[in-house]
Each structure stands twice: as C-alpha cells, then as structure tokens.
C-alpha cells in the first residue's frame, strides 16, 4: 500500500509539473501586446497609421453617401465613389446616376475616438520614450481626435465628448457608457481647445524618416482656423434657418450667441495669424509672369503637391494599388475625358456646372472683382435659360465665336486650371464638347449626331465628331440620362483639378497615387479674411491683402476690396472641388435658400452653319437631372444630420428626424 501511495504520488506530481500554468500560456499569434509596439519607433508608427487612416479627411476616397475610405470594388458592386461633397453643391454634377447625390453623408467616429483614447492612455506608461517624445505623440493623438470631433460637430452639432476609453463591465447596467450630447457650443469649444493644446505639443515639421505626411502644429492651427470659422458662422447664422425641437432647446443644435460668434471669429483670426506669420508657409509662385503661367502654376499645386510644398500645410498620400487593390485612388480614371481615358470602364464622370464657371472673374472686368458671366448673347441677356435645349430658338441673338474655346479666353486663369472647357487642350488633345448644330437653312439638330455641310463646303457634325471612337472627344449631350452614356460631361465642362496632365496613368482601379491636399495656405488666408470682415476683429487691411494675394497669383493685376461677397466668391473659385463649398453653404446657412427647386445650369455649345464660315454659339440650359427631377431642394433640417442609433444610445435626436 505504501508503494501504491508512492506511485500515485509520483504520477500526480508529474502531472502537476506538466500542469504548471505555463503549459496553457499560449501566446495569441494574431495580436501583439501594446508594450511591444510602443517601445519600437516603427511600432508607434503602426499605431498612428491606424488612427490616421481613421481620420476623416474628405479626400478622393470620401463618398458622402457611403463613407470615408470608400473603395469602389467588385465587392461593393462598383458603386460610384462620389467626389467629396462637390455634387451636393452648385459646383458640379455627376454624369451618372441621377446626377446628384442625396444629402445623406454621415460620420459617427466613435470607434476611432475610442482607439485614440486607448493609445492616449497607454502612452504615459511607456518607459522607453522620453517625456518630450510622449508629449509630441499625445499632442498628435489629440489632433487626430479633434479632427474626428470637428467632423462630427459640423454634421451633428453637439455630440457626446468622450475622452477616455470607457470600460464595459459585464453584469452591470453600464450606465456610465451612456454619455449624453454636449451642447453645440461645448463641442466646438472642445474641438478648438484640443486643437490649440495639440498645436502646442506638435512639432513644426517632421523629418523624412518620421514622415512628412504627418500633421504638424501648423496643420493643427490651420484646422483650428477652419473649425473656428465654421463655429463662428453657425453661431452667427444658425437662426437664418430656425429649427425647433429638443436638440434646439437644449442647445445641442445651434443655440449660440453673437458673443460666441465673436469669440470663434477671434480664435479663427488668431490661429490663422499664427500659421501665416510663423509657419514659414506661403503661396506657391505668388507672382506669375502672365496668365498662362498663372494657370500652369495653379494647376501644378494640385498635380504636384510636393513641388508646391511651400503652400501645403497638410496632405494625404497614397501608394499604387494596381497590383494590390484598395491602396491607391482612381481619380485619374473616373474623371479623365473620354479622349484621354487611360482605359477604364468609367471616365468623364464629373460635370462642373455653368454656375461655377460664371463665377470666375474676367480679366476685362471692372476692377471691382465682379464675376462676369460668360457672354453668350449679343443682347447681354444671360438669364434666358432653356429647360430643353432641343427647343432652342435659333433666331435669338446668340453671340458667334470663331472657336469653341474663344468664349473662355479672358476668364480667370484658375478656371483653366480647374475645369476642362470645350475646345481647350488637355494632354495634347483638343477636347471638343458640343451639343448640336444649326444647319444652313436654320433648322437645328440638338443632342443627336448627324453631319451637315457648311457654306465652306466642309462637313460638320452636330456633336463635333462622327463617332465616340473618333479622334475627338464625343459630346456628353447625346443620350443624357441613359446608362450607356454616363462617361461624358452633361454640363459642357469636365473637371481638371486633381487630374495629372503630365503623368501617364493606368486605366485600372486604384492606379492613382496623387497626394490630396487637405489644408493649404490659400484657405488660411481666406479664413482670416472672412473672420476679420464678418467680425470686425483682426485687420481688414490684411484681409484685403490676403484676398488680393490670391488674385495676383492668378494673374490679376488689380486690387479689389475685401467685401464678404468678394471673399466668398474667392473661396468658390480658389478652392473649387476641394470640399469647401458644401460646408460654406452649410455653416453660413445659405444652402436652403440657394436650393429651393433650384436647377444648376449647363452650357450647350452648338455649331452654327449659317455664316459663310461656321461659328459657335453657346446656349444656356438647365442641368438635365435637375430639370427632370424638378430642381434641387435643401431642407433646413439637413443643416444637421440625424444622430444614428438614438433608440439605444439614448441621445437627443436632431430636429425633424
């Protein structure tokens, strides 16, 4: 029996030895402990990379209806990517679909905020980083978090402010997870304060090793000027579109005072000043030799942001995604004209509106910065806009131009750098966009293609060429609204900004690697100018200086006064398609008055065969999709987006949702 006990004991001892806890300590192979990452500079970068990727930059991959970082892939059925918020405004229309995106964008960034909070909580316990390194990383995280809150604040007004990663406690009611909305004012104050604090800790620049694409203190301040201007405008104008409801009475949507507005304008001015005076950043090539050079310089800012680094405050980079999907972006493929389509199935999809083209100054204007509409009529009646261009009255006094491009000859250089206009040259090819013809006998043929003889004995085509496969770009006015013709302009214009003219781009998805400029000096100038003029704070003289600096860079030689209208007009033309216009309309509460059964306009160039040598005339008409849908409307409630998930998160819903 003794032996039995010994043997049993031995076995149990052996087992216990084996059973020592170590055996079950399996290292999870699909995750890495935080310490391992935080003690390695590259590890820190991977943590930041995740947070940056969650930062809601309204870049090429932002589809307001779908999400940030939206990719058009077979997996999502090739849904149109959208292009920022331009299609929600008077800037442009999509050629495809209904031509317009609904206002349904949303961003509920609390997963990114939680992850940022997690890193902020882990940083202080790392022993291998110096205090200075930690402070800089903390500041960078706060910038990212503030960017997320800013993006939510301008969509939802006041949102819950959560500054630490909340803990879920199983078996309890978890009441502390239910953080209520702050007021809109508290939210803006939080965003501005965070950006201010972040700017204090962030470096002025990053080395090539650390990553030039990381946000600097100037990015924080530039973003602060953007956010403060938004907050100030809402504080000043929110009553232009009065809303009612709990969110309003509890000041979660609007509810700010003129004093708040003044405060925010001042913060905008201060932040902008800091950037302008201390960042070392300035306008790229501020004094061009001539208009052509001005157009080239302006175009270069966007197609070569690295060369224009002096002006760029924050940009986002991409790597080639042609062999590994989802990495690059597809801008060059979606927006090139059919003639220079690199080989994609989708192209020519962005149609800038005539409304925007009209806003650009004419160098022959009166020196007051007045926008001069394109001159289509000899009776100067530019308000005769057709619902249906096929019913054009050919007896009206249309101005006749010798060449398609002539009508744009004196327009602001930035128009030519931003928009491909009919008859202009792009990538060495003349881009013909033409919607019809008037035959010798005065009969007309609009929106369909046929040939006719001119009095010069030559054959002319109503759409400018015999076929879409011909040497010339085919007009987009043919078959408007049909799914087969979505690859052509429907407005008479195509987008040029963000396309690369000197670069051969692949005709596949994710083939573009062009950087996206999120913040540049021009915006800071204009933020300063608007804040100064709206509030009377700061210097109105400086406001005018900044305003005219941009015009001078565009080849203007005169100075115009810094009126609010001039500043807003300058924002439109300088920053077209950069994602500013939509938010300008929102923050200043102009969208609902602008879009009341509003129809954006297009320009239909036609060839007129009645003269001895054929001439071009230009017909103003309504955007096809706007016309057929009865015009575009913006409801006042859409100044705020509906809070998602109120049934479970117990938040106060925004008005009228």
């Amino acid at each position: 029996m003794k032996k039995l006990i010994i043997y049993t004991g031995m076995i149990i001892a052996g087992l216990s030895l084996a059973a020592c806890k170590k055996y079950l300590e399996v290292q999870p192979l699909d995750r890495v402990p935080a310490e391992q990452l935080l003690t390695d500079p590259n590890g820190v970068k991977t943590l930041l990379a995740n947070l940056y990727s969650k930062m809601p930059v309204e870049d090429y991959k932002y589809n307001p209806g779908l999400s940030f970082n939206y990719h058009r892939t077979p997996g999502n059925n090739y849904i149109e990517p959208g292009f920022g918020t331009a299609y929600l405004t008077d800037e442009a229309s999509l050629s495809a679909g209904s031509g317009i995106g609904p206002v349904n964008e949303s961003y509920w960034g609390f997963d990114g905020i939680r992850q940022t909070n997690q890193l902020l909580e882990q940083l202080p316990v790392v022993t291998t980083l110096t205090a200075a390194q930690k402070a800089a990383l903390v500041a960078e995280c706060r910038f990212i978090r503030a960017y997320m809150y800013f993006t939510m604040a301008r969509r939802y007004g006041g949102v819950p402010i959560i500054e630490k990663s909340l803990e879920y406690k199983p078996g309890t009611d978890n009441a502390d997870l239910f953080v209520p909305r702050s007021t809109e004012k508290q939210t803006w104050d939080y965003v501005l304060n965070e950006l201010e604090e972040a700017s204090k800790g962030m470096p002025a620049s990053f080395s090539a090793v650390d990553g030039p694409y990381r946000a600097t203190k100037w990015a924080a301040l530039a973003l602060k000027s953007r956010a403060a201007l938004h907050a100030a405008s809402v504080a000043k104008f929110w009553n232009k579109a009065p809303l009612t409801g709990d969110a309003v009475t509890q000041k979660m949507a609007g509810g700010m005072t003129p004093a708040d507005a003044d405060n925010y304008y001042q913060q905008c001015i201060t932040a902008a000043e800091a950037v302008i005076n201390n960042s070392g950043k300035a306008l790229y090539k501020p004094i061009p030799a001539n208009r052509t050079e001005a157009a080239k310089n302006f175009q270069d800012i966007f197609q070569n942001p690295t060369a224009a680094d002096i002006e760029v405050i924050f940009k986002k980079g991409y790597i080639d995604g042609t062999t590994t999907l989802l990495q690059g972006h597809s801008t060059d493929m979606y927006y090139n004209p059919s003639q220079t389509n690199p080989g994609g199935l989708f192209y020519g999809r962005s149609s800038p509106s005539l409304d925007l083209v009209d806003v650009y100054e004419d160098y022959t204007d009166n020196g007051q910065g007045q926008s001069v509409k394109l001159s289509t009529r000899s009776d100067n009646n530019e308000n005769d806009i057709l619902a249906d261009p096929t019913k054009v009255d050919v007896t009206k006094p249309f101005k006749q131009y010798n060449a398609l491009a002539d009508i744009f000859a004196n327009k602001d250089a930035r128009l030519h750098a931003t928009i491909i206009v009919p008859g202009s040259t792009w990538k060495g090819v003349q881009i013909i966009m033409q919607g019809g013809m008037i035959r010798q006998d005065g009969t007309k043929l609009v929106y369909s293609n046929a040939s006719a003889l001119g009095k010069d004995g030559k054959t002319y085509w109503s759409l400018g060429a015999s076929s879409p496969n011909g040497a010339t770009g085919f007009s987009g006015f043919f078959n408007i609204g049909s799914s087969s013709n979505q690859n052509y302009s429907i407005s008479g214009f195509l987008q040029k900004k963000f396309l690369q003219e000197g670069v051969t781009v692949p005709g596949t998805y994710f083939g573009s690697t062009l950087d996206f400029i999120d913040m540049r000096m021009a915006e800071v100038y204009l933020n300063y100018a608007e804040a100064a003029i709206e509030s009377g704070k700061g210097s109105s003289a400086l406001a005018a200086t900044y305003l005219n600096a941009l015009r001078k860079r565009a080849g203007h030689t005169d100075n115009i006064p810094a009126s609010i209208n001039n500043i807003l007009k300058e924002r439109q033309v300088e920053m077209a398609f950069e994602g500013r216009r939509y938010w300008d309309l929102i923050r200043r509460r102009d969208a609902h008055t602008m879009f009341t059964s509003a129809k954006r306009t297009i320009l239909v160039p036609m060839i007129d065969l009645r003269p001895a040598v054929p001439k071009y005339i230009f017909v103003r008409a309504n955007n096809f999709y706007d016309e057929t849908s009865g015009g575009r409307n913006f409801q006042p409630r859409d100044y705020y987006r509906p809070i998602p998930g109120v049934a479970t998160n117990k938040l106060v819903q925004n008005p009228q949702f």
Binding site: Y7, A49, N50, R114, I162, P170, Y213, I319, T648
Partner: protein
C-alpha cells in the same frame, strides 16, 4: 534433459503448407510479420552432415555441439519423417530452419531449451509444460452440441491457457487443482468453474448476443457491461460488419439507439452525415483512447479495422469532460491474437443510382404549358402555334428536344472497396495490420467526379517483460477527390432548369451553347477541360505508443503512459477556367468567368500525452473497488497558407507561379491550441449488485483568461441490479437481468474566441494603413475591442434515468432511458443597448441557456424456430430542445414574442409558421365570397383549383396574420439538423449457412419544403417537373380561364402560372411544406457462409459471400419522397444537393 509428451496434435493445423503458399501472395504483410517473428539470435555454431536420418538423431548431434536441450513429442517427430542436411559452421537457427524446412513443425528457443511442436502451437502451453503437474481435460460445445473449436481455456489469474481443438476438446496442464477454470468463446457467455479437484469438464457455452459479461470500453478504461451504471451502448465488429458500405456511419446507421444519423448527400468524398447523440450536436470522437478529428474522421475509418464502438450518452461521457457534452463515440481498433498469421480479405463492388431524380417534361410540353401558364396569368401566350407545331414534330434543327439529364448524368455509377488484413503473433509480439482501398465515382458523365481513399493500420503489441506491454499503432489514410469547379448546387440548378430546346453544342461545332435562363451550360460546368475543377487531397496519419505496466508488487495496480502524434496535410485547389459560350443560332461567343487558380495548404498536428494509474481490488470478496487517475496534455497546431492568381493573358498551368501578379492574393495563418486535464474515477460495487461510480475531471483550456481557464466537471452514477437480489432470483427466475440506472454529471465545451482576455493589437487591413512617407504604406495596428476576462467554459449538466430489462435469457429485452441536458453559459452578446458612442462592440459572454429533454427506448426479441434463428431489435429516440434563456432585444408586442420561433423562456424549437390548407376552390364564383387573397388585386387572379387558406383572424383578408405555428421545421432548421423523433429496427435472421440482416430507419416530426416558385420550373424556368402536369386545367385550352363558364379538369396541383402574384398558390401550407416523416429500408444484406467442410477442402478458414442493398425502399408521403426526405435540402431549401444513392453491392469475405 526432459522429454515430455505433448498433447495430441490438433488436426486443424494440417493445412499449414498450403497456407504458407497462400501467404506468399502477401509479401508486404509477410515482410512485416517476418520482422516481428525474429527471435533473439547469437546462438552457437553447428556443423552437420546427415543423409536421410530421423530428426531425433539430428537433434542429438545438435545437442552435443551446442548444449541445448530439445523438447518434443516423439510420435509427432516420427510423422515428420527423415531429414538430410549438410552445413558447416552455421548458426543454430539456420540449421534448425533447414531441418524443419517443409515439415509441419516449428520450434522456439526458450533459454537453453529448443521446443519443437506442431507449427501453430502457442508457447505459453509449452512453457506451462515445463512445470507440468496435473492435466485437466474436457470438451466445449454449443447449445446444439456442436463442438466449438478454438475456444479459449485458461486458469484464472495464471498463465495456464490453451484452446480447444476441432472436436472442441482440450487438455490443460495445471500446477494444482485449486484454481478457477475459465472457458470463453467469441459471441458466447463466458463460464467459470472452480476446479476443486475435478479434472474433466464438458461445458456448453451459450450464445451471447446480449452478453452481460462483455467488457465494454468506456472512457479511460473498460468495464463489464453488467456493472455499468451509465447509458453506454457498445457495438462490436461483427454487428458493424453485418452491413458493408463505404462509410462506417452507414454501417451503423439505425443500429445504435440514441445515435441519430442522417445521410445528407451521397456526394463522393464528402462524408458529411449528421451524427448526433440524442439530438445534442456533434459528439466527441475518441479512437484508441485519444480524441481525434470528429465525425469526418469517424466516417472515413476503415470499418474492417474496428473492434468495437462504444457510445457514451449520459454523464458517463463526463470522464471526457472537455467537449464531451454532446456525448462520446469511442472506437477501439483491432489488435492481433497470438498464433500464425490469419488473413482476411473482404471486398465489394457496387452499383448505385440516385434515389430521387425529378422527371422533367420535354421542350414541346414545356412550351404548351408555358402558353397555358401565360393565359392563367392573364398574359399573352409566349409561343405561336407555328412554333408549337414545329416543336411537336421535333425534327427541324432548332426544334429538337434534348434531355439534359441524359446528356450529363449516367444512369448508374460504381463503387468498390477492398480490404485485406493480417493478424497473428507470437509470445512476445502480436499484430494486426490492414490495407483498404475505396473507389467511388460520381454520376456525372464527364467523369470529373472521382474519390479515392486508401487506409492502412498497423497495431502491434509487444509484451516486453512479464509486466510491461507496449502497444504501437500506426494508422493513416490518403484520400483525394476531384469534382466540378462550382458546387453541386450550381451544377444541379442549371441542369434542372436548362431549356431542353438547347443542345450542349452549337450544331456542327464543338462550341458549348449558352443556355437560358441562367446562361450557363451544364455540360461545360461538369467538364474539367472547359470550366475547371475542384480538387483536394488529404494525407492523414495517426501514431500512438502506449505502455502498460502491471506493478508486480501490488496486484491490481497498473500504470499507463500513452503518447500520440497525429498529423494531417491537406491540399485544396480550385481552378476556374474562362471559356466561351456560344449562341446556338448565331454562334456568337460570350466569355464566361475568369481564369483563376486558388490553392490552400493546411498542415495539422496534434500531440497527446496521457499518464494513468489504475487500481482494482476486491475487499472481503464482495466489495469490488476500482480507481483510475489520468493526466492528459494535448496540443494542436495548424499552419495554413493560401494563394490565388488570375491569368490575365493566357492560362498555362494550375500553379500559383504561373498566374499573373495583378490582384495576386495570399494569406496564411497559424493556430496553436493547448489543453491540460486531470481526471479520476472511483468505482465501487457490492456483489456486482449495487453499483456506484464517482468521477471528476478538471480541464484547462488555453482559450480563456488565466483565472477562467480551469473547469471542474464532476459526475456520479449509480445502479442497482435488482435481478441479482435473492428475492428476485427465487421468485422471478425468468427475469434474467433487471438493472436500474441513474447518472448525473457536468461537462463542458470550450467555445468562444480565444484570447478575448488579451490586450493586444491586431494587424490591420490594407485600408487601415497610412502613408507617412512618400510611396510607403505604414501598416496600421488596430487596438483591441473590449477585453473580456470573464469568458469561460460552457457548462452542461446531464441527467439520465434508465432501466435495463432482459427476460427469458434474452428472448425479450428492453432498455429505456429518460434524459435531460441543460447547457449554461452559451455564448451571446449582450443586447443591452450598446450605445454606438462606445466605439466598440460588446464581447461574447456566457449568457444563454438551453435544455434538451427526451427519452429513448430499445425493445429486442430473439428466438429460434427450427433451424431459423432470428433477432429483432427496434429503437427510437425522441428529443426536443428548449430555449431557456436567449439574449435578445425586448419584444415590441406580445404578438411578436409569440411569433418568434427562436423565442426565449422555455420555447420549444422546431416549429415553423404557415397557413392552414382548407381545401380548394373549384369555381370562380366562390371567390366572390372567399376571403381576399391578393391584396389590392383582391381575388382577381384566383382560378379554380387554387388552395383555400383559412382566414384565421376572420377579417376577410388573407395576410401574414393568418399564419400559425403549424409545421414542424425542416431538416435544415432546428438545432442539430436532425428531426426530433428517430427510429430504427434491425432484423437478423440465420438459417444454416445463410444469414440476412435488414435495417429499417426513419425519422418523424419534420417537414420538407418543395419550393414551388424557385427552381422546379413551376412557371419561372423552362425546366418543368413532370409531376406538375397533374394540374387543374381547362377542358378547352383555348377558352379564357377567367370565364366563369369554362369547364375545368381537376388535378393535384393548382392551375400553373407564370408567377404567383396575388394568389394563395405559393403560400406555405402543407401542400408545399410537407410532412416528411419516413421510414426506409435502409439496408438489407444476405450472406452465405461456406460450410466448414467445404472451406477446409479448399484450404480456407471461412468464406462468406453477400449481396446488399442500400436505400431500397422508402415509406413516406409520395410527394416528399420525390425529394428524398432524408437528404438535406441545401441552400435556398431548393434540394439541389447531390442525390442520395440506392446501391447494390456484391462482396466476399474470406478468412484464411
């Protein structure tokens, strides 16, 4: 020197020589055997030069030269005749080999003694002879007085043992006449007799199908069946092999009560039968003491290798604790027996055809019906009369009917299986080794479907010392399969709905056609050359070494150490080819698909180490005590790598490197799992009458946080053998056995995501990276969501009450069990409103609860009438599952709660909502007063023959509110995919040399859905089932069906339509969701065993030939049968799965 006579030579060994020749055929085995039979060498050298002298004189010479003694039977030596030998300086062994060459003699060297004996004699006997003191003798027969040859005879607790000869006689030398003589024979009740000085024993061994003294393998040990107190069922090799098929699971289907088996498809190589014990879920599979790979591994075992299968159904499984809560299936493989090699060859070749394949109408009929459907749907007819006439003639090109089933499917296909095994051994070593091959081809004419399986197994037992034994197992299988590139679903659907107006090829070309409505071509889909393939191959090996040590100083104490390493290499690949399909009239090409190759390789390894101690003793004669302690370590590792490539330019080879780099994808993973267990069991019984078993198991899983890793699973069971009580014995001797059993125990399952407790960052996707430096993407590491340190084992409580009853020596038998299983801590995520401001989702927690309750019953009867012996056994199990707690958002209304099939609070699972069928409308006028069916369209689309549906809420409108939980769920639903009620019956008949085994099997309380508007051509597609011709139709097809004066011919189905809009025809009633209860004659096998005298004449031990058939006959709703009620319904409940097969096999089983 001692010369002692041996017992008289058994005559059955006289065929040794021929046997040897037969053996030559199996060189592979022989090599193996030869290795095992090598004895110790290094003996003295001998030189001999003898010519035609008696063996005895040669022996004397050898004895002089070497000093070795000889032991032999002189009579036998004389019979062996003279010998010539001329050798110099050869080894003793070599000299002896030459002496015995061609003689019916064998020798064994024991120390310095050379024992000469007839070839198969077992050394134990000889050893015993050396110290012979007394001889006992006798004869063993069966009930009919027929001698039992080969019965084992031994003295309990000693090494004295022998076997009976052909006359059933035995002689056994014993030290004294004190011990207990044990007589046993396979399949018969073992008997024991105290010698008490007696020397002669003539014994009748009774047949024992219900042999209570059978030893049953239970977890970590074995136990006599009579002293079991848990619900354990055991099935032996003999019963497994009464039906032969390609899968072990088919072999045992319906034979083991409580084991639910449903064959889901007959797709070769899938082996995806649903196996569950009492409807619980997939059981744990243990092969030779080690948990292995589950049901797929089980099904692929070679049935011939299996010695026995035990099924632990209740808390008896708790000894396996971890993941045993669905019950345990324990497989024990065959081991060798001492003696000369015995060979078994068994094989069958089978023919099989689908149990159900729809009959489809031809192209012309479809078109006439299409027009009828159009009229019935108020549409204009699709086909003109001219067209129809051409189709009717069917001669003009383009108007010819093609039977797509005939074009692509065979009428029947073949399967075959061959298995050969050898077993035997000598004193030190016994072995069993086998090799099996299975070939199974599909029913596709393209020949793409091929499955091959090769099994081997070698079990060797080494008796290393008197007390130490080692069992070495090496088993493996290689199987591989090739099938069409897409799944069978995407082959059968286009096949069934293909328009029969289309030929496979554009006439006059080899171009495959593009066939509406799906624009595919079944011929192309089944062709490897055109559309590609899916292939996998699997190489599996299982190795195991087990040491058993009987501690000599303490009787009854054993130590065991087991190490096993199993591995698996899997190579899966799928090649999709791009190919052109051509328009049948214009021959214009349309490209289909892209060339793409996907390859996944998985390497799996599992190491198990078990250390055990086992003690058995009897105190004061009546107290039997047993105790077992085991420690177990288990570690598993999988490495997976996969890659895919497209071929942008040209397809070359199905190799990753041959594809295009654009959009190349790859992935890889590694999974490591570790478990640790400590378990113990204590058995006690008093006089084999009062039984008690207590067990515990402590399991640790790597999966959980350190504090939550370990779980303790205790269990207890008790039994009372009432029939052993004197009052029963005296008053009711006809009760052979009556036992009451009760058990209760806990088990667990380690589920949930591993490492939920671990705060770590994961590698993000591409779009979670960011560009910090020009042209360089920095990968993003994503922080953890919510860490949950509380996740732990799912815990199960199982209770079982049972009764075993056997009357009149087993003529009538009854086993009944009631059981209940409660599971706590099932995984769910808290619904309790995660505010979306939280920024992460809640983790899995142990929240839900469910419960399964049921009972099972076995009734058996066996008897004989004249020469006819028969056994009938029927079993049934009924089990239902209740959701005790199920986390969910609050119901908006009580109605919603009531309607939720998956509701909580004691809801029974397995009910389906539908409408009540209420006869038919026979006249258009009836619709004026009938409840409204079609929403806004009212009854305007209804026709005579449509189903009337009960307006349950009486509001005059038929809508969703009129549904009731009227139906049993389909097989695809519910918890284990098995219907709640399952039954089976076996009938075994034996008459002389003939035997017959029939197996009935079935299920009830479930339904099957014949989706009328999807693929069955009920209007939507050109393929139409013949059965739908039995429909309501106009007497005059040219009349307007909506004319009230039109006369209708009634039929089984309502008037056919192009769509069901605004009608009741497609609503879920019992017309479409049919009761699918069935009983089927699952298998029948008839065998003939060659009479022993003939067998002897052709020098074999045993020969049995048999024919069997599977899925021979089904009793079911004839409409449901059309869809084979046993088969899985598959995706969309469309029944587009590989059909089950009716098969006929012819085979032989040869022992020699």
């Amino acid at each position: 020197m001692h010369f002692k006579p041996l017992s008289s030579p058994p005559k059955r060994y006289s065929g040794t020589l021929i046997k040897t020749i037969l053996m030559m055929k199996f060189t592979v085995f022989l090599l193996l055997i030869a290795c095992m039979q090598v004895s110790a060498s290094g003996f003295s050298q001998v030189s001999l030069a003898e010519k035609n002298v008696p063996l005895r004189s040669v022996f004397k010479k050898i004895q002089k030269q070497t000093g070795f003694d000889f032991l032999y039977d002189s009579q036998f030596l004389q019979e062996a005749g003279n010998v010539s030998i001329d050798v110099s300086n050869v080894s003793l062994e070599h000299a002896l080999d030459l002496c015995f060459k061609g003689k019916p003699l064998a020798y064994t060297i024991i120390e310095k003694t050379i024992v000469v004996k007839p070839k198969p004699l077992v050394i134990a006997e000889v050893t015993a002879l050396l110290e012979l003191k007394e001889i006992i003798s006798g004869k063993v027969t069966d009930e009919q007085g027929i001698p039992l040859a080969g019965a084992s005879v031994y003295i309990k607790g000693s090494s004295k043992a022998t076997v009976t000869d052909a006359q059933g006689r035995f002689n056994l030398e014993v030290d004294n006449l004190e011990g207990t003589l044990v007589l046993s024979f396979v399949g018969r009740i073992q008997q024991e007799f105290p010698l008490k000085g007696k020397k002669t024993f003539n014994v009748v061994l009774k047949s024992a199908t219900e042999d209570l003294s059978d030893v049953v393998v239970i977890g970590y040990g074995s136990q006599k069946k009579e002293t079991l107190s848990g619900a354990v069922v055991n099935i032996k090799s003999k019963d497994i092999l009464t039906t032969k098929s390609t899968s072990v699971v088919s072999n045992i289907q319906g034979k083991i009560p409580g084991v639910h088996i449903r064959q889901q498809t007959a797709e070769p190589g899938t082996f995806n039968s649903l196996v569950s014990i009492r409807g619980f879920g997939t059981p744990l599979l243990v092969i030779d003491g080690v948990p292995r790979d589950g049901m797929s591994d089980f099904e692929r075992l070679n049935p011939e290798d299996i010695e026995s299968i035990s099924v632990l159904k209740d808390a008896a499984a708790a000894i396996y604790g971890m993941n045993a809560d669905n019950g345990v299936i324990i497989v024990t493989t065959k081991k060798g027996q001492k003696g000369l090699a015995k060979f078994n060859y068994s094989s069958f070749v089978g023919y099989k055809q689908p149990t159900s394949m729809p009959d489809m109408v031809d192209a012309y009929t479809y078109r006439t019906i299409r027009n009828e459907m159009d009229r019935n749907t108020k549409l204009s007819p699709t086909f003109s009369q001219t067209d129809l006439d051409k189709w009717k003639a069917g001669t003009e090109p383009g108007y010819i009917d093609y039977d797509w089933f005939k074009e692509t499917l065979r009428d029947f296909t073949m399967q075959q299986q061959h298995n050969i095994s050898a077993s035997g051994g000598s004193e030190g070593i016994t072995y069993y080794t086998s090799l099996g091959i299975l070939a199974d081809d599909g029913i596709l004419k393209s020949d793409i479907q091929k499955y091959r399986k090769y099994n081997f197994r070698t079990n060797v037992t080494f008796q290393m010392t008197k007390d130490l034994k080692a069992i070495v197992t090496l088993a493996g299988k290689v199987d591989n399969n090739r099938s069409p590139q897409g799944s069978y679903f995407w082959f059968f659907k286009p096949l069934i709905i293909a328009d029969r107006a289309f030929s496979p090829f554009v006439p006059g070309t080899n171009n495959v056609t593009r066939i509406p409505p799906e624009f595919t071509n079944p011929y192309a889909l089944a062709s490897e050359a055109i559309s590609g393939y899916e292939k996998w191959s699997n190489v599996q090996y299982q190795t195991q070494v087990e040491l058993q040590y009987d501690v000599p100083s303490i009787k009854g104490l054993k130590f065991g150490l087991l190490g096993a390493y199993d591995g698996n290499n899997n190579n899966w690949s799928n090649l999709a080819r791009a190919y052109n399909q051509y328009d049948i009239s214009t021959n214009a090409a349309t490209l289909r698909g892209q060339n793409r190759y996907v390859n996944t390789m998985t390497q799996f390894g599992r190491a198990v180490v078990q250390a055990s101690a086992n003690y058995k003793t009897t105190i004061a004669k009546n107290h039997h005590i047993g105790a077992t302690v085991v420690g177990e370590m288990r570690s598993l590792r999988s490495d997976i790598i996969n890659a895919s490539r497209f071929y942008a330019d040209v397809y070359t080879w199905d190799i990753i490197n041959q594809g295009t780099l654009t959009n190349a994808q790859n992935g890889g993973d590694r999974i490591i799992q570790k478990y640790l267990s400590l378990l113990g069991r204590f058995n006690y019984d008093f006089k084999n009458k009062y039984l008690l078993e207590l067990a515990f198991r402590e399991d640790g899983s790597y999966r959980y946080a350190p504090g939550k890793r370990w779980a303790m699973f205790p269990s207890a069971s008790a039994g009372w053998r009432v029939s052993q009580e004197n009052f029963m014995r005296n008053n009711a001797p006809w009760i052979s056995n009556l036992k009451l059993r009760a058990s209760y125990g806990m088990m667990g399952a380690d589920q949930g995501n591993p490492f939920e407790y671990y705060l770590g960052y994961r590698y993000g996707n591409i779009d979670q990276g960011y560009v910090f430096n020009n042209g360089v993407l920095t990968s993003g590491m994503v922080p953890p969501g919510v860490v949950n340190e509380n996740l732990t084992w799912i815990k199960t409580n199982t209770a079982n009450l049972g009764i075993d009853l056997s009357l009149w020596d087993g003529k009538f038998g009854l086993v009944a069990d009631w059981f209940q299983k409660d599971r706590n801590g099932l995984l769910a995520t808290k619904i309790q409103s995660v505010p979306n401001t939280f920024g992460a989702s809640f983790p899995q927690e142990n929240i839900n609860k469910d419960m399964v309750k049921g009972f099972e019953l076995i009734v058996s009867h066996k008897n004989k009438i004249g020469k006819l012996r028969f056994e009938v056994s029927a079993n049934m199990t009924y089990a239902r599952k209740y959701l005790v707690y199920s986390e969910r958002a609050p119901y908006a209304s009580t109605m919603q709660k009531w309607k939720d099939t998956w509701g909580t609070g004691g809801r029974v699972l397995g009910r389906e909502w539908g409408y009540l069928y209420d006869g038919r409308y026979t006249d258009l006028l009836q619709y004026q007063t009938a409840p409204l069916m079609g929403g806004a369209a009212g009854n305007s689309m209804m026709l005579p023959g449509s189903f009337a549906v009960k307006d349950v809420d009486g509001n005059g409108i038929i809508n969703g509110d009129d549904q009731l939980p009227e139906f049993w769920s389909g097989q695809y639903q519910g918890f284990a995919g098995n219907p709640p009620l399952q039954y089976g019956a076996t009938i075994n008949l034996a008459w002389g040399a003939f035997d017959m085994n029939m197996l009935f099997q079935g299920s009830a309380l479930f339904s099957i859905f014949a989706a009328p508007n999807d693929v069955w051509g009920y209007g939507r597609y050109p393929g139409m089932w013949e059965k739908y011709m039995d429909r309501w139709r106009l007497e005059d097809p040219n009349m307007n069906p909506y004319d009230p004066s039109a006369k209708w011919i009634p039929g089984e189905y309502p008037a056919l339509r192009s769509n069901f809009n605004n009608t009741t025809d497609a609503l879920t009633t019992d017309r479409w969701r049919m009761n699918a209860s069935y009983a089927r004659l699952k298998s029948t096998e008839i065998g003939y065993t060659l009479a022993p005298q003939f067998a002897k004449r052709i020098k074999i031990d045993n020969l049995r030939v048999f024919v069997n058939g599977f899925n021979l006959f089904t009793f079911a709703n004839p409409l449901a049968k059309n869809l084979d009620p046993e088969k899985e319904e598959g995706a969309y409940q469309a029944d587009l799965t590989y059909p089950l097969m009716r098969s006929f096999n012819f085979g032989i089983n040869l022992n020699f």
